[in-house]
Symmetry: C2
Subunit: 408 residues, 2 copies
């Protein structure tokens, strides 16, 4: 098992009663509740509220060993996985290493426009955002100050919308009164989306609602505009240069490079095109689950969201047990329960198919759903307190800038 | 005002009604509740639970400007403070930059035996501790494994006792069942103190009680033994070499180097020997408060603890107001309320002069006192939940290893 995200954990948990010797390899010691990562990046939640040690989650499950390490190579013919100086033989392999952000061939933009996939990313973004206001306060130059108070979020998907909405909330509410030389409420927050609307996975009416809510929060939304350059001073949007010292990237995803080593066809984003049972066509002993898998169901491509990853993980566990029992593995059927996206304070959109909500009601729906799915009772309670406190005070509890090599 | 710790904040808050233009310079954007820093270092609390942004604390106080920067020089004749590329003129200056850990002339030990003064330090130590168990689990070599499971804490003051006691709790309880190849309960935790007893500031009977409690928690206490060498593989204690991959330093303090620039006498630890009113003898316009000040009261030297720093801060504020009103400044009188130190789960010592406690009762006393003094209602509540949950489950909520340049 490579990867301790929703899919990887789904497989491991699904095999908790199996008489198997499971090895879970992950780069980090923790599982992250990805849908709330933007809250850590925007100082709303402390990291431990949305992350839990893998060993802790799996302590009761005696058939699994957790190994902290980065997989460097998969040798499908020798059936070996190499991680650091060690290698492990396998009978069955599940690869669930997800995706990273993609810069469409402009990897040099990464240093100026960080993306958000891991806790490290979230800490980096948090420090950048908070530091921008500090730099603005310290600057004597009017243009420099404006550049420090300008924020650009690239990409109008759920992460981009969440980041832009929350940035506007921080600038317009959280930091009010805290500075003496600048007025944070005069910050510019701009969301740039190359396609025709934000939240393209949602129905057009909800995209429009999200866009209205963003505008209401003070976000400038630029639709149908592509980023053509990013550097330390700002971004070029089409032909227009905008000075902005903080640029966040929420535009593209590229699959984990491990997918290339499985001897399977990849789709354009580098995801592995799996068979209907989620195994790799040429290697039935290898399964791919989660965002790394490219699966097309009856209703189109399976989206890269947490519920889909969990379902795939559980399905792979069932198929593995079927194989071991000499039965045939079954085709994966994605069950779509709906899509949620939050825009900011009291603003969200919900598309359950039979139910479409936007605004305050959608936000409550989103809130309850996310708290419910957070792993661990303690986390749920702490998150609830942080949010209740943030709701009434606009304060964000994790506004700590730390610079060090080791962190958390 | 340089330094946003207990002393610096005490001065600023004490001057909240004064018609002054205050500038608070700090290296970080946050105030840290130092007495609970060891909880972050041992993964018991998330950083935001014990730290709050200075701007947030002071947002209502319009006469203060917060400046995030590191003071590089103080020019006492020109009355200027230099921080980065900027410099500030002052009429009155308060220096409250505290202390760092000292390695008694062996600065090369610092990389192998980190000390605990800041949140950065705490994150570094947390990652080291958690990583040690991971390395032990991954190691195939018996001796290497034992070295990864050996922990040495140098220094038997309150911080050393807290770290050693909590390390023992983590090894013997928190991580139980989580590893498959090692048994964390077989870890060695050793506390080394060069003096004749632990907690030397306490009465001998309480030192003895603390030592018994440490032994009960599984800590080996080595008294009257000095560290003669530290490297990546272990420590030399007198003539004995002990293999240990994790060594924590809680032995010596050295005053902030800014003290040297004030044209005043320093004591052996580099603290500034101030006049009775806490001003610098040759420069009545400069005050020193907190751990950086060397003050001897009627009952001996004022201890380097949070209540003393707060009292000094408030006293400096009163003296500044007296000076501005043309009155004479008053001598500082330290009011000693008592000393508290925690040893571990349900174990602590309390010396209130009229009341001496050890064990469970002392621990409850310590717990309530610390929660009470934690800044901010939200923090108190979150800390309470974390601790209540830890009390019943032995789990520690912040067990996240993150590696990155920016952090938190």
């Amino acid at each position: 098992m490579i990867g301790g995200g929703f899919a990887g954990l789904g497989v491991v948990r699904g095999l908790r009663h199996a008489a198997l010797d499971l090895l879970l390899i992950d780069r980090t010691n923790h599982h992250v509740f990805q849908p709330l990562l933007y809250q850590v990046a925007t100082a709303g939640l402390a990291a431990p509220s949305i992350a839990a040690p893998l060993r802790r989650i799996l302590r009761q499950q005696a058939n699994v060993t957790v190994y902290l390490g980065e997989v460097s190579a998969i040798d499908v013919s020798a059936r070996r996985v190499h991680a650091g100086e060690r290698s492990f033989e396998y009978d069955y392999l599940v690869v669930a290493t997800g995706t990273r952000h993609a810069y469409f061939g402009h990897d040099e933009w990464a240093q100026h426009a960080p993306g958000l996939k891991s806790l490290e990313d979230a800490f980096g973004i948090r420090a950048r955002i908070l530091d921008a206001f500090e730099q603005a306060e310290m600057s004597d130059d009017q243009a420099q100050r404006a550049a420090w108070l300008s924020f650009v979020v690239v990409g109008g998907g759920p992460t981009g919308v969440e980041l832009a909405g929350t940035l506007a909330e921080i600038a317009h509410h959280t930091l009010r009164q805290e500075f003496r030389r600048i007025d944070p409420t005069r910050s510019r927050v701009r969301l740039v989306e190359a396609g025709p609307r934000v939240l393209p996975a949602f129905p057009a009416s909800l995209s429009a609602a999200a866009q209205r809510q963003l505008a209401h929060l003070g976000v400038e939304v630029s639709i149908g505009r592509a980023i053509t350059a990013v550097d330390a001073h700002g971004v070029r949007i089409g032909d227009e240069f905008m000075a902005a010292r903080t640029v966040l990237w929420a535009a593209g995803v590229a699959a984990s490079p491990l997918g290339r080593q499985l001897g399977a066809e990849l789709d354009r984003a580098g995801r592995v095109q799996v068979a209907t049972d989620l195994s790799v066509p040429a290697h039935p002993e290898i399964f791919v689950a989660g965002d790394l898998a490219s699966v097309t169901g009856a209703a189109g491509a399976v989206p890269g969201i947490a519920p889909a990853a969990k379902q795939m993980g559980r399905h792979v566990a069932r198929n593995l047990q079927a194989r071991l029992a000499g039965r045939a593995s079954a085709a994966f059927r994605y069950r779509h329960y709906g899509l949620l996206a939050t825009v900011g304070r009291m603003a969200a959109v919900v598309d359950m198919g039979w139910l479409r909500l936007s605004g305050l009601l959608a936000w409550w729906f989103w809130l309850l759903a996310h708290i419910y799915f957070l792993i661990g009772f303690r986390n749920r309670l702490v998150v609830l307190i942080d949010w209740a406190s943030a709701y009434f005070t606009y304060e964000r509890g994790a506004r700590i800038i730390v610079r060090s090599d080791q962190s958390g």
